[in-house]
């Protein structure tokens, strides 16, 4: 069963790049543009990992993160927060909301891919 | 525009008040001056100028002077206190 990745980002070009990177790793990728859709997508099928943008319309990344952590059956989901706001307080807030890791935009594609692999327990590629 | 009108109103109020106060003060000053004038006119040395054994229209000078000044003084008081309400209401 392939690894399931959910990409949540309102900036289409970034979503596009993330899709490309994840697909290239051989993961199954779904992509949505806002927080509400993200929760719908999780409810539909629980992914292994979510790449979650913070600044989004409707429900932002923190809210999505919180909502996911509130549900017992979704505890296994790994969440990596992506944000363009690089301040430390944002990182801490993300981690406090239940995110597993945090990546600041702009990001290094290699680092990101490595982080995802580590988190999924896959060997360094 | 409304704020402007309000300011104008305030200015008017202050202006009116300062204008209203001044005649009262001025009247008070005039009355005090009048008392000073009377005090001087009815005492030494001015009074001594009229202490003479002479007549004005058949009346002794001193007697005439005192009563004439008296009358003048009364007229002056009347002129000064005449006017609108006295109280600072």
């Amino acid at each position: 069963m392939p690894v399931e990745i959910l990409i949540v980002d309102d900036a289409p070009n970034i979503a596009l790049s993330l899709e490309f990177l994840m697909k290239k790793e051989g993961f199954s990728v779904r992509s949505v543009g806002d927080g509400e859709e993200a929760l719908k997508a999780v409810a539909e099928k629980v992914p292994d990992l979510i790449l979650l943008d913070v600044m989004m319309p409707k429900r932002n990344g923190y809210e999505v993160c919180q909502a996911i952590r509130a549900r017992a059956e979704w505890q296994t989901v790994r969440i990596i927060m992506l944000t363009a706001k690089g301040r430390e307080v944002e990182q801490e807030r993300g981690l406090a909301m239940g995110a597993d890791d945090y990546v600041a935009k702009p990001f290094s594609t290699r680092d990101l891919v490595q982080k995802v692999r580590d988190m999924l327990g896959l060997p360094t590629g | 525009m409304r704020a402007c009108g309000h300011n104008g109103g305030l200015l008017e109020t202050f202006g009116a008040r300062s204008i209203a106060m001044s005649p009262l003060k001025r009247r008070q000053e005039r009355l005090v001056a009048l008392v000073v004038l009377g005090g001087l006119a009815l005492n030494f040395p001015l009074l001594s100028l009229f202490s003479r054994e002479a007549f004005v229209w058949g009346v002794p000078v001193l007697f005439f002077y005192l009563f004439a000044f008296w009358l003048l003084f009364v007229v002056l008081i009347a002129l000064i206190v005449k006017g609108k309400s006295m109280a600072k209401e």
Partner: protein
């Protein structure tokens, strides 16, 4: 009928007329149709100043001193101009504090001191007793003259027979009359309208009588002024009366007498009564201040002529000049005129005695007897009014009998004038305490007490005791050698000062000591709080809502919690808790709930309640929880004495803390504004950072993808490269716009104002954005065409505005069905353009935010389009800079119109 009977009968009948008049006056007052609400009546009542002393005594004095009688009337003349504000102020004070006598006035001014009130009353009695005696003497003498001479014909050479009994009867009659007038009932204001009516009437009678006799003497007995004065001048004995040489004591005496009269017109108890207490309307002062001097002028006009006529006619000097007014008509056989003159003199005397004794009886009962009685008030728990009336009646009778006694013991030996002037000098001792008191808040109780006391001692020593000595009541050596043989204490040459006549000498020393002590003690004294409150009350009587002097001090026990609970019942528990906490905190008190509430906290609670339920109810409510009695006046003052310093400090602290609070509030506001600005700046930076990072992230990601994936297909490579370019463009635009905005906001933007045509600008913007529209297949319709829309503006900036609006519009339009129109606007406000799209529209709640920075980024799903979120903000700033207006009209689902209008006028660069 014998004249022996006519004179007394006429007297009684005349008093009967007066009484009827007074009765009618009181009746009208009770009906609310006052007769005394009239400036002329007020002025005439002031003429109670002219007593029998004026009536008979002036002529007597003029007969020996020429114009020397005049200072008594020139004083009031000089004082009259000051009435308008000095008297006005005294009346305002008396009305505000319900003051009914001069003793009350002084006591009230100096901390409501009962001791001072009693002292003043005592001195007033001693001081004016000679004056009352003088009236009795005048009436008795005039009646005797009338009876004797009219009955037996004028016996030249015989001194008129003085019947002691006549004076006694007169005294008793007057006492009855004053009792009937003044003490028929108790009135809180102590105003006697009937009495005022009677006094005003009497003033007319005495003036009429005196003018009659004056005219008769001048034009009947002589051939007018010229004849009279001419004949007097021809007489060597009378010649000097025409000049100042005849005035005893010379100019110094003239001056001091004038000064005494200036004080007397205000401070004689009867003058205070009619001027202040009986005043109906302050505005009456205006007429009185010129009409009264005119009255004085009229009543004095014939004094010197009558005196000279008397001297000429009774050339042997056997007739007492004090009786000339009466004896001249009698001599001429004008008996009815003599009777009229007698009635006039009776008017003068009764008027004075009635007002003086009524004023004194109020004073004696309120300031002397009642305070003593109330100290033992257990006996007098019930209604006191009957007792007070009895006291007053007794006082009036006692005063007149005292006057009679004085007349019997001392009065017979002296002329009318010398008796009267002693009283003038006595009441002048109140002048410093009153006049300084109403203008100088620093005048203190101890100062006033000391001043009045020393003034009176000096007055007694230099005027009263010598008058005793002169009438043989004291050893003559008291005058000649000084008391106990101490020459420097000689009463009429104190410290060897022999420059002045006795009156001037006494006035000089007594007032010097009086004022000196008053000022000196006051300068080094610390006033109690009651004193301070009263002083401010008096000095600032015209300040509306001035310093409240009516706070009551509570004693007795009440716990803080009970007090709080009471207040809470009326203003709510939360508010009460807050108020108390605030009060306690502000005064740095440390109070347990069960602790006894300090008096000021009770007062605070009362004040707080007063605001809610009114003062009377507040008083009742507080007294319902305070266990224990209200303090008596003495206790109040002691308490206030102790706490005055504390209160003073706390008031100062309160003021300071108010200032601090205000300053703190301002600081807080400034700080909040700064914080808000800081927050906005932070947000701006954070948002800019986000907006920069997003395209950067895309650029970096795709660049790395291109680098790491050499195997990519050409089409994909092409696509990614284009994304990179697009994001880079977006980044550039963002940076430019951010810089633009920063420039505009910091005022560093350069503006090139020139005459422009909006139609051309619209066209240029359309040309510049053509590609955008074509890309998305959105239709753009220019409805401006070549409409002339001329105005002063920065051409490039205006183009930018239109471009921004167009790109904003195209961004929200559906591809293919999208339609954007650009219209011209020409209104009174100015000219402008409207960019209308058929996009999704803007929800009402967002319509005011569209011009905020980065607004669109936040909530628009349409972020697929290029845009910085700063475009509209920049538009807004540019239009603002041109003094124009930009706004949005939108209906959700139907599209939006962005409209701006610019004034046609010149915009200064």
């Amino acid at each position: 009928m014998s004249w022996q009977w006519i004179a007394p009968l006429v007297s009684v009948a005349y008093l009967g007329v007066l009484f009827a008049l007074a009765y009618y006056g009181d009746l009208r007052a009770a009906q609310g149709r006052s007769l005394v609400n009239n400036a002329t009546v007020y002025t005439l009542s002031i003429a109670v100043y002219c007593t029998s002393w004026t009536y008979y005594g002036s002529v007597g004095r003029a007969a020996v001193s020429g114009v020397g009688f005049l200072p008594i009337f020139l004083g009031p003349l000089l004082m009259a101009p000051l009435w308008w504000f000095v008297l006005g102020k005294m009346i305002a004070i008396a009305n505000a504090s319900h003051i009914t006598s001069i003793a009350d006035f002084i006591a009230s001014r100096y901390g409501k001191s009962p001791v001072l009130g009693g002292m003043v009353t005592l001195f007033v009695i001693i001081g004016v007793m000679p004056y009352i005696a003088l009236q009795l003497k005048a009436v008795a003498v005039s009646m005797d003259v009338l009876v004797d001479h009219l009955g037996a014909g004028l016996a030249l050479g015989d001194p008129p027979f003085l019947s002691n009994n006549t004076a006694l009867y007169v005294a008793i009659l007057m006492a009855l009359f004053a009792i009937l007038f003044g003490t028929r009932h108790l009135d809180a204001s102590e105003r006697h309208e009937g009495m005022v009516m009677a006094i005003a009437f009497e003033s007319l009678v005495k003036l009429g009588a005196f003018l009659s006799v004056g005219l008769f003497v001048t034009f009947g007995l002589f051939d007018g002024f010229g004849d009279l004065f001419g004949r007097a001048m021809a007489d060597p004995a009378l010649r000097r009366l025409m000049t100042f040489d005849a005035v005893p004591g010379g100019y110094a005496s003239w001056f001091s007498m004038t000064f005494l009269a200036m004080m007397a017109i205000l401070f004689l108890p009867r003058q205070f009564q009619v001027l202040v207490v009986e005043n109906f309307n302050k505005n009456h002062i205006r007429q009185a201040s010129w009409f009264f001097p005119l009255y004085l002028l009229a009543i004095n006009l014939f004094v010197l002529p009558i005196a000279l006529a008397g001297r000429l006619i009774f050339a042997n000097g056997a007739m007492d000049p004090d009786t000339f007014v009466l004896t001249l008509p009698i001599q001429a056989g004008q008996h009815w005129l003599a009777l009229l003159v007698y009635v006039g003199g009776l008017s003068a005397a009764t008027g004075m005695v009635i007002v003086e004794t009524i004023a004194l009886s109020t004073m004696v009962s309120n300031d002397l007897i009642l305070p003593l009685l109330l100290r033992f008030r257990t006996v007098f728990r019930d209604d006191l009014s009957g007792m007070i009336l009895s006291i007053r009646r007794g006082v009036i009778l006692g005063l007149l009998l005292l006057g009679y006694l004085y007349f019997r013991l001392i009065g017979e030996s002296q002329t009318l004038v010398s008796i009267g002037i002693v009283s003038f000098a006595a009441v002048a001792q109140f002048a410093p305490a009153i006049l300084l008191g109403i203008y100088w808040p620093g005048a203190s109780r101890r100062g006033a007490m000391g001043g009045i006391l020393i003034g009176f001692l000096v007055w007694s020593h230099t005027l009263l005791l010598p008058s005793f000595a002169k009438s043989g009541w004291l050893a003559g050596s008291f005058l000649t050698d000084g008391p106990w043989g101490q020459a420097w204490l000689k009463p009429e040459a104190l410290f060897g000062l022999t420059l002045f006549d006795p009156i001037t000498h006494s006035v000089f020393w007594s007032l010097l000591a009086n004022m000196g002590v008053l000022v000196f003690i006051s300068l080094f004294d610390r006033q109690t709080t009651v004193e301070q409150i009263q002083a401010m009350h008096f000095v600032n009587v015209f300040d509306k809502g001035g310093k409240g002097g009516n706070e009551y001090v509570w004693s007795g026990f009440v716990s803080v919690v009970d007090l709080k609970r009471l207040v809470a019942r009326f203003i709510g528990p939360m508010q009460a808790e807050r108020d108390f906490a605030h009060y306690i905190h502000k005064r740095r008190l440390e109070l347990e709930d069960n602790a006894q509430a300090p008096a000021r906290l009770v007062a605070f609670a009362e004040k707080r309640l007063t605001g809610a339920i009114g003062s009377a109810s507040a008083r009742v409510m507080i007294s319902s929880v305070v266990i224990g009695e209200e303090l008596d006046l003495r206790g109040v003052m002691r308490l206030l004495d102790e706490t005055s310093q504390v209160i003073e400090y706390s008031q100062r602290l309160e003021q300071k803390s108010r200032q601090l609070e205000a300053a703190t509030r301002q600081l807080q506001e400034a700080n909040e504004r700064l914080q808000e600005l800081d927050r906005m700046k932070d947000e701006f930076i954070s948002t800019v950072s986000h907006e920069l990072r997003t395209p950067l992230a895309a650029i970096r990601a795709f660049s790395e993808i291109l680098r790491d994936n050499a195997e990519l297909e050409a089409s994909e490579r092409q696509k990614f490269t284009e994304i990179i370019i697009k994001e880079a463009e977006r980044l550039t635009r963002l940076v430019n716009q951010t810089l633009d905005l920063a420039k505009i906001e910091s005022g560093k933007m350069e503006w090139h104002i020139s005459e422009v045509n909006l139609a051309h600008i619209a066209q240029e913007a359309i040309d510049a954005t053509k590609q955008l529209f074509d890309n998305k297949s959105v239709q753009l319709v220019n409805k401006v065409d070549d409409h002339d829309l001329m105005l002063q503006a920065d051409r490039d900036k205006m183009i930018q505005v239109v471009i921004n609006l167009l790109s904003n519009a195209v961004k929200f339009c559906d591809a293919t069905t999208g339609l954007v129109e650009i219209h011209w606007q020409d209104t009174e406000e100015g000219v402008g353009l409207a960019v209308v799209d058929n996009g999704p529209g803007i929800p009402l709640e967002d319509i005011n935010k569209v011009f905020d920075k980065f607004h669109q980024v936040r909530d628009s799903a349409a972020d697929f389009l290029p845009g910085s979120g700063l475009g509209l903000t920049i538009c807004h700033r540019i239009i603002e800079r041109h003094r124009g207006r930009i706004w949005v009209e939108s209906v959700v689902g139907q599209g939006s119109s962005f409209i701006f209008l610019l004034p046609r006028g010149v915009v200064e660069g």
